[in-house]
Symmetry: C2
DNA sequence: GAATTGACAGACTAGTTGGTCTGTAGTTAA
DNA sequence: TTAACTACAGACCAACTAGTCTGTCAATTC
């Protein structure tokens, strides 16, 4: 019996589990995620957990669909819709993002990449859900370049789909590489080249 | 009692464990690696395993130092020493590597990136060993560009260290992205941009 | 306001997993 | 030849972990 609050709010309870599970997966990976640890941190019990999720795998699905995906949508897909000048807008975005990153966070890596590398080979149900997110991100970035081509801010010989794939890969690669260095030097070194490359796309 | 061969060769035994463990880690990750599964595949027993390795963690260390590291040395560090014209040599190397990759393998991802993303946050002892490999790779690639600058095959305004970081990141990012797509389309799309970027470094 | 349902609490379990320990056969040195 | 040591074999164990089950209290329905 939980002595304190007896107020019930199933939606908040569920969301608390998802948020903590997401954090735990970032730190330990899905396979290192312990249901008990999530319950400890949320001050909930097995009863609560298995009321909201049928299994650990179901939790994994929910984390991908309800935490990771919305995060990419908010962070990338939505802003990309507003891009008028992809070169400037992208560089601005990356510059802003760079300011927010501290050395400690850098050690965590990108959530999308983390889940991709560990979870996608484990289970087809994970892989498909994650591939969906990559696809979404790729498409919105490609569309931004497509618009840039049409409005004269991007070189006409640029292939939006290809460049989008390459840029996403480069960004993830940079973050992933820095994950095992404790300093952000590698981040800025590669970042300089990334900026130059983006600049080279300008019409 | 093993009925068949009673010949003893501790070095081969140890190497068999390392090779199978490496494969298992590629498929399931370190946390998904089961000592029992390695023993099953090698037809060995607990006695053999804990004679050669003090713990699962020690096995992880050995896999990084004695399998992953030599693999990068053979695949990258050694060939890079011979590079005369980094642009041509790199494009040749990537073209050859592309031929060897089939869709199934693509699903496995790059061993270095796999271990980096999963293992480096788990334990400082893992992180340092893996960072050492990245550093080695980066240095040998940077040196190749440095030589290219001096022998006139690479633009003089290219910063070898930065470009090396960026290229490594891009390559890893491309492979990592393809890990959750089952086709190699994304690979070739991004690969085209990668080639263009490398070409742009030519003096 | 009684009954039904929803949202948990928490003890318990069965299966897994890294690791131990004793025994034994091959190998080597004297 | 034999004693000492190495390289295993394989039964066993303790800890962990996902998942179950019964009970209980709040919330909603009628």
């Amino acid at each position: 019996m939980n002595s304190a609050v007896a107020v019930r709010n199933p939606d908040i309870t569920r969301q608390k589990i998802l948020d903590v599970a997401f954090e735990e997966i970032l730190l330990k990976g899905y396979q290192g995620l312990r249901v008990d640890q999530v319950l400890k941190r949320t001050a909930l019990t097995k009863g609560a957990f298995y009321h909201h999720f049928t299994s650990k795998q179901a939790l994994g699905h929910a984390v991908i669909d309800e935490v990771l995906k919305p995060w990419i949508v908010e962070k990338w897909v939505e802003p990309l819709k507003e891009f008028k000048n992809p070169v400037d807008d992208l560089i601005n975005m990356l510059t802003e993002a760079r300011k927010e990153i501290n050395t400690a966070e850098l050690h965590t890596g990108c959530p999308l990449n983390n889940l991709t590398q560990e979870m996608s080979p484990l289970d087809e149900s994970f892989r498909l859900r994650i591939a969906n997110i990559w696809q979404m991100w790729h498409q919105s970035l490609a569309e931004a370049f497509e618009r840039g081509r049409h409005n004269g801010t991007i070189r006409t010989d640029v292939k939006p789909g290809n460049v989008a794939r390459f840029l996403i890969a480069a960004m993830e690669g940079i973050i992933g590489q820095c994950k095992c260095y404790m300093n952000d030097q590698a981040f800025d070194e590669a970042g300089e080249c990334l900026r130059d490359y983006i600049e080279s796309l300008r019409a």
